[in-house]
């Protein structure tokens, strides 16, 4: 990836990009001989389709509350991009199933979580409903902080290239990561537009952060147990995860934690993390985006 000047690109017009991935050649362990690293990243495919559809639902509910036209346009662009992300990850689930790894029990729980637990509740008064929408926007904003962190990591992860990870999967991670970096401010800006209060931001992170970590750990355990080629031989531990992250195949757990804490700094804004120039530069060269443009 070309190195680019680290400047802040403000006021970007966001539009969804169509993509085409060909998964027919994807091996089950797409980082060769690294089942733990492979499945740790695979948790993304379990969480994202349902999670991103929930983002879309929340943001569509928030649209009538927005009074700034530019923010409204950015939110619409965000919705379109998230919708394409959800589809792209969905395709990987079908591929896992075809290779004998049945992700359905976990996806079933995630669907319950996003549609029932975090979904719209019946019997709320108009004010409660409005507060509930803003609260869920704050959850999304905190999660988007992590997706931008992970996206920035994916764009700067030579370890995955060194390990000869599958190029199509790398493109999915980097294309998605780049769009997460590109639209990293939208959820935060929407939250502060609807409620500039600091408490809301803290609550968003206090609920989303630990939930995300727990879902991830559960997901890794589940995938390793469900992988038909492993027979439950690999038991994940934090020590192993740390080793793998030192080889550059996963983000470092401590760096992730520190990033979560940065979100709570008073002067935080998402533009302080990652580079739009690097992200847009990748998007202009992504094979999947180019394949769909033809």
């Amino acid at each position: 990836m070309p190195r680019t000047a680290p400047e802040v690109h403000a006021d970007l017009v966001l539009e969804p990009r169509d993509v085409t991935f060909d998964w027919s050649g994807l091996p089950l362990h797409w980082i060769p001989d690294e089942p733990l690293a492979t499945h740790t990243i695979n948790v993304l495919h379990l969480l994202l389709p349902e999670g991103e559809r929930w983002f879309i639902k929340v943001f569509k509910d928030a649209l009538p509350l927005i009074t700034d036209e530019q923010l409204r346009e950015e939110v619409l662009g965000f919705i379109g991009q998230e919708s394409i992300h959800a589809e792209a990850h969905q395709e990987v689930l079908d591929h896992l199933l075809a290779q004998g790894l049945d992700p359905r029990p976990y996806v079933r729980q995630i669907a319950w979580l996003f549609q029932r637990v975090l979904g719209e509740k019946p019997k709320l008064g108009p004010r409660q409903r409005r507060e509930n929408i803003i609260e869920r926007v704050a959850f999304v904003a905190a999660i988007e902080h992590f997706t931008a962190f992970l996206g920035n990591w994916a764009l700067n992860s030579p370890g995955l290239d060194r390990a000869e990870a599958d190029p199509t999967m790398l493109d999915l991670l980097r294309w998605h990561g780049a769009e997460e970096v590109e639209h990293r401010s939208v959820a935060f800006d929407l939250m502060t537009h609807l409620d500039p209060g600091y408490l809301r931001r803290v609550r968003g992170m206090a609920v989303s952060g630990p939930l995300l970590v727990h879902l991830w750990v559960r997901g890794v355990r589940f995938l390793l147990a469900a992988d038909p080629t492993l027979d439950g031989r690999i038991v994940p531990t934090w020590r192993k995860a740390l080793d793998i992250s030192r080889r550059g195949l996963l983000p470092e757990p401590m760096a992730s934690l520190r990033s979560g804490l940065r979100y709570l700094r008073r002067g935080y804004h998402p533009t302080q993390e990652g580079s739009s120039a690097q992200a847009l530069s990748y998007l202009a060269s992504s094979p999947a985006a180019r394949a769909a443009a033809r």
Binding site: E7, E15, K60, E69, R108, Q109, L113, A277, L280, R294
Partner: protein, 394 residues
């Protein structure tokens, strides 16, 4: 415009349908409705309810109704969400810079600093007639008191460029939306800027920025004739050996390969010009050694073989005629301003509406056969046969 001569003979809808094939259905497709009435079973098939799922469900059932109580609501003393106001600017320059091209300079009436921008950004002008038009900023981002745009007169266009050429004058006021950027310059080390006609406008500030940063850049500007091409002298003065010009009257229409001839391995290409030129560059791109292609994406795809039809909102609701040259989404948004939409091209699915009656012509790439059968419709691209009425859920 497809150039077909208009026939006066009344004809049956014998034109080929533009209906697209549905998207393939996947096991995990959107059409699979997961059971959200009963808590999910244990992950590993053990005969016990999942404790974690039960805990988060209980938490949320207590948390949500508590919303709105003190500390769990928006502080009522904080100011209400506000909109950023558009700019009100005055025209301080209006002069011809090439055949049929005027350059406009805009400034704050009291000389205040204007919002900053970066190469590739555009302004949206709201003209006195109410028309809205986007124009790329082509001045110097370091000049914080003046915006510069250049507008080619399009005689058979929608009238916006004619209005700017003929009716705007020095001292006139214009409402202008703040700069936005849909064509951001990423400053890759090796650059090829490809401009067609008035498409030079966003690339000029990029060339200046590339020169300032000492990047390895080259610019090709193609146009009809030398007299029709603005800013030639300005580009030559910037770096005479890094810019090249070609005109249609001397050398003919350039091919994509010719426009990309200066690309080397790793080159990032920035292209702005008429649609056929961009298509030619896209087609030639894979065969060139260049690594990245940046271009500005303009929302809606042109409507091919559109026929007028009617939308009806609800069984008893108002009827909205959709003309041949407008999308159903555009018409629908006038009646329902909060309708979400995003890609305008039938691939993201954001604008999905529910059909109650009528036969649509699906033109999207997103919906599966099951979704179409259940009445889903993407009004950004999908239409209906001439005279058909599509009744939508309101």
């Amino acid at each position: 415009m497809n150039g077909h001569p208009m026939k006066k003979i009344p004809k049956k809808p014998s034109t080929p349908s533009r209906e697209t094939a549905p998207a393939p259905t996947a096991v995990f497709g959107r059409t699979t409705q997961l059971d959200v009435d009963n808590p999910p079973p244990d992950l590993y098939g053990r005969p016990q309810p999942d404790r974690f799922m039960r805990a988060v469900t209980t938490f949320s059932d207590l948390y949500t109704p508590a919303m709105g109580r003190p500390l769990l609501r928006r502080n009522p003393r904080l100011p209400a969400p506000r909109a950023r106001a558009p700019l009100s600017l005055v025209i301080t320059g209006h002069r011809a810079v090439a055949e049929e091209v005027v350059e406009l300079r805009l400034a704050d009436p009291s000389g205040d600093r204007l919002p900053s921008w970066q190469p590739g950004a555009h302004l949206r002008l709201i003209l006195p007639s109410g028309r809205e038009r986007h124009y790329s900023l082509c001045g110097d981002p370091a000049d914080r008191t003046t915006y510069r745009i250049a507008v080619r007169r399009i005689a058979d266009g929608g009238g916006g460029s004619r209005e700017i050429h003929e009716e705007l004058h020095l001292g006139a006021r214009l409402t202008v939306r703040r700069p936005r950027n849909g064509f951001a310059f990423c400053g890759e080390p090796r650059l090829l800027l490809v401009a067609g006609g008035i498409g030079i406008t966003p690339l000029l500030p990029m060339a200046r920025e590339a020169q300032r940063r000492g990047l390895d850049w080259h610019l090709v500007h193609a146009g009809r004739s030398a007299a029709s091409m603005p800013f030639t002298e300005e580009l030559r003065a910037l770096a005479p050996d890094r810019v090249s010009f070609r005109t249609e009257d001397a050398e003919g229409l350039p091919t994509g390969a010719e426009l990309l001839a200066a690309a080397r391995p790793g080159t990032a290409v920035y292209c702005c010009g008429p649609t056929p030129m961009l298509a030619a560059v896209q087609a030639a791109f894979e065969a060139s050694p260049a690594a990245a292609l940046h271009y500005e994406r303009f929302g809606a795809a042109p409507i091919l073989d559109g026929r007028p039809f009617t939308l009806q909102l609800g069984q008893e609701g108002p009827r909205l005629p959709v003309p041949a040259d407008r999308s159903a989404l555009d018409v629908l948004r006038e009646a329902r301003p909060d309708l979400p939409y995003s890609c305008h091209q039938g691939f993201c699915g954001t604008c999905r509406v529910q059909l109650l009656a009528g036969t649509p012509e699906h033109r999207d790439r997103r919906l599966t056969a099951e979704e179409r059968a259940s009445g889903a419709l993407l009004p950004c691209v999908s239409r209906a046969a001439e005279g058909e009425t599509l009744v939508l859920e309101d």
